[in-house]
């Protein structure tokens, strides 16, 4: 059988069970997308994983992980100015970082066309919020395709690329977490491989490209025209579809994306309730030529949309202007704005509105024996755990610890409780600087991951130097972007230490985090320094390392043991160091879970009795 990567580039048609994120890549290949850039973030990193199943020599496009989402957007934009169809993809909050660049896309003439794939995260499964980026797409005046399933992801990417090319613009493919990660059998079309030539046709005559004063105003005017034509394209392509229900009451429901699937599941629970459904495949601009007759032909219309009431507000305003008498229902309480519109959630909402129409009422979770919660944790052997164990010893109870984004964020949990405030990528030094102002008694320590250092961490560090703030910054260096699945970052080429040296940071300490005593000493010393001091606390990501080792021939897994004769049950290993490999037995004895322990031995130094042995 051929490898998955080979299939993604084969010219012939085929069917395959794939994730939404994988379907994106086949669509890139078929549309002859030439340049692709990204910064990793859930729910999109599996797009990159699928790209990487195609060997670099055979890959029909250029791909890079850029240093952050803003730069990734700029790289894709630049390539598209040269006439290459380009794509940038990243997660929901990545758009905040890319914003300054992104909002210009609607204004610019982009000869190659640009597809922006954004993975929003309703439910905040892997993000610091569940922001609804449709607000921003609307502000940037871009067309937004919203697929509900892997089949639609594939089809809509191709439509978005087509529109982007025709209109020489950017188009957005808005995915959400469970659309990215859904699996389904998709029929892929045949395609004609192109010659894989990069265009270099930049011509300022295609502009204007310098949006200053009145030129920016002209460009804004043009962006409206593009949107009007986009609405026509959407209509011609039939992207908003009518699903005739046939119930006697005149009820209609307008719904985009994945909530459409939830709605269909809920309506399938019972026979009899089958309102008409207008499924929106494009959520911006709204096609009022389709929406208007739908409103006019129903007495009641529910707008069922996840997160904010963006479609609802526009439709209500439209109905008011047009004097349409249909009763339009939408969100009625705060909870309607919160969380993913799963089938359960949609069931609750529909049942609240039309209780008589359901035989099957929503159920509660059946209260059984309460199962202890299982929060995410740092892995066995994680260098961040050793770092926290050591750093904690250098801190006074009143000192303030500031977290940043990455696996080390998990240090906020007991038993470590290190990192007491978290904002977004790269925010720790800035926040710590503010916390240090006028603060004589409580010292401030900030944490920062190494991928984040390059992403958005450097300006905060420069500001600390420039304005002489008094903080200690600890770089949690593991050589990879671990939390999102081990993507490489700039640190492999440009060592963090060299950057700090170049910036003129005077006090830089560094050690391997497994050397806990050294690290405690270094942090103690660093915190006594006035101004900025930096400690680089390094250890390779042990999950990545162990996975690589286990693929080597002759690999045997090691693990530690507890010598019961020596153990005095102080529980430093299980309750303070807190490696998940340790098991606390009913009788207070400690054991090792051999499925979990990787034999790293970083725990051995924490036992005061030396009871942990190989």
């Amino acid at each position: 059988m051929t490898q998955p990567g080979e299939r993604l580039i084969q010219p012939g048609a085929y069917n395959e069970m794939v994730m939404g994120n994988t379907a994106v890549v086949r669509a890139m290949v078929e549309t002859q997308t030439r340049v692709v850039s990204s910064y990793p973030g859930s729910p999109t990193p599996e797009i990159a994983a699928a790209i990487r199943t195609i060997s670099e020599e055979k890959r029909p496009f250029y791909f890079e992980f850029s240093v952050n989402e803003k730069v990734a957007s700029e790289v894709a934009f630049g390539a598209a100015l040269n006439g290459n169809l380009s794509c940038v993809f990243f997660k929901s909050v990545g758009l905040n970082v890319a914003m300054d660049t992104f909002v210009q896309f609607g204004l610019m003439n982009i000869p190659g066309g640009l597809v922006v794939v954004i993975g929003d995260d309703p439910g905040a499964n892997s993000s610091q919020n569940e922001q609804d980026n449709r607000h921003i797409f609307k502000m940037a005046r871009l067309t937004v395709f919203e697929p509900a399933s892997p089949r639609e992801v594939y089809g809509y990417y191709k439509k978005a690329a087509q529109l982007a090319r025709i209109e020489q613009t950017a188009a957005v493919l808005r995915l959400t977490t469970h659309v990215c990660h859904a699996r389904q059998k998709v029929s892929f079309d045949a395609y004609e491989p192109g010659e894989n030539i990069f265009n270099a046709d930049f011509d300022k005559a295609n502009g204007p490209y310098i949006p200053i004063t009145n030129l920016a105003i002209d460009l804004k005017r043009k962006s409206f025209h593009k949107l009007t034509r986009a609405a026509e394209f959407i209509r011609q392509e039939g992207l908003n579809t009518l699903d005739q229900g046939g119930s006697e009451e005149n009820i209609g429901i307008i719904v985009p994306g994945m909530p459409y699937l939830s709605l269909k599941d809920v309506l399938a629970l019972d026979d009899g309730f089958s309102p008409d459904i207008l499924k929106l495949g494009v959520v911006h601009p709204l096609d009022f030529e389709v929406i208007k007759p739908f409103l006019q032909s129903h007495d009641t219309v529910l707008i069922l949309e996840e997160l904010d009431d963006i479609i609802e507000q526009q439709i209500k305003a439209f109905a008011q202007d047009e004097g349409i008498s249909a009763k339009i229902l939408g969100k009625t309480c705060d909870e309607d704005f919160i969380g993913e519109y799963t089938p359960d959630k949609v069931h609750d909402i529909l049942f609240r509105i039309w209780p008589d129409r359901f035989v099957t009422a929503p159920v509660d979770v059946i209260p059984g024996i309460e199962v202890p919660a299982r929060p995410a944790q740092m892995c066995p052997g994680c260098g961040h755990r050793s770092a926290f164990q050591a750093i904690k010893k250098a801190l006074a109870k009143t000192d303030i610890t500031v977290a940043d984004i990455g696996c080390h964020t998990l240090g906020f949990l007991p038993p470590y409780e290190m990192g007491e405030v978290l904002m977004c990528m790269g925010a720790s030094s800035g926040m710590a600087s503010g916390l240090s102002l006028g603060n004589k008694d409580r010292r401030v320590v900030a944490f920062l991951g190494d991928s984040t250092f390059f992403h958005a961490g450097i300006p905060g560090i420069i500001n600390t130097l420039f304005n002489r703030h008094n903080i200690t910054l600890i770089i949690m260096e593991n050589g990879t972007t671990a939390m999102t699945g081990h993507q490489d970052h700039a640190g492999g080429t440009i060592p963090v230490k060299e950057v700090l040296k170049g910036l003129g940071v005077e006090h830089v300490f560094s050690c391997d985090t497994y050397q806990q005593e050294v690290l405690t000493r270094q942090v103690t010393e660093a915190m006594n320094i006035d101004g900025l001091s930096v400690v680089i606390a390094s250890h390779p990501c042990m999950l990545k390392f162990t996975r690589a080792q286990s693929k080597k021939p002759g690999y045997t897994r090691r693990h530690v043991n507890i010598d019961a004769a020596v153990c005095t049950r102080v529980h430093e290993c299980v309750a303070v160091f807190g490696c998940p490999s340790f098991v606390l037995n009913d009788d207070g004895s400690v054991a090792v879970n051999k499925d979990l322990c990787i034999g790293d031995g970083s725990c051995r130094q924490v036992c005061p009795e030396q009871a942990i042995q190989y």
């Binding site: 990660h181 699937l261 202890p372 929060p375």
Partner: protein, 192 residues
Amino acid sequence: MKEFNIYITGVGGQGIGLLSQALLQAIDHAGLDAVAVDTHGLAQRGGVVASRIRFGEQVYSPLTMKHRSDLVLAMEIHEALRGVNTAVKDSGALVYLDVSWQPLPVRISGEKPMTNDDISKTCHARQVQVFRVESHKIPDPRMQNMAVLGTLAGHGLVRGVEKNHYLSALEAVLPEKIREANINLFESYMSV
């Protein structure tokens, strides 16, 4: 059949991905149009992970509704009970591996760990059929998922999916190096 829902759960790092992938392939090989979804992201770092697989004439979203799963597969004791408490329907079935990956609150704040007894009591009260897979009998922990798959295949717990579908799915998803050993173990559980 209107819908058949499967909820697969475990702890991030246990590798439930291969189990759900193999089962999804088997369902596909049986000619059923299925949808599925896995957990990716933060929870993969030692948190609770769940995959769902659905098929039938009226199935749309890959997400399963509360207490509508016909079958729950769990790779760990605590997650087995959590799956029963949130996902399985009354008179559904549970197949679980009896290993324990102790959750943090058990180790650091004295919460009570779950036992096999807790599972059988809860399932009995709700007429959920229980199939316990004993981990100590599995020669290599890396093949635990094959024991679970073999058990559910042997008892015909997924309607319309036959032995040959499982076998051809395993041929497709397992890397060559480990294929034979895994399939042998699967078959030994299938025929118990």
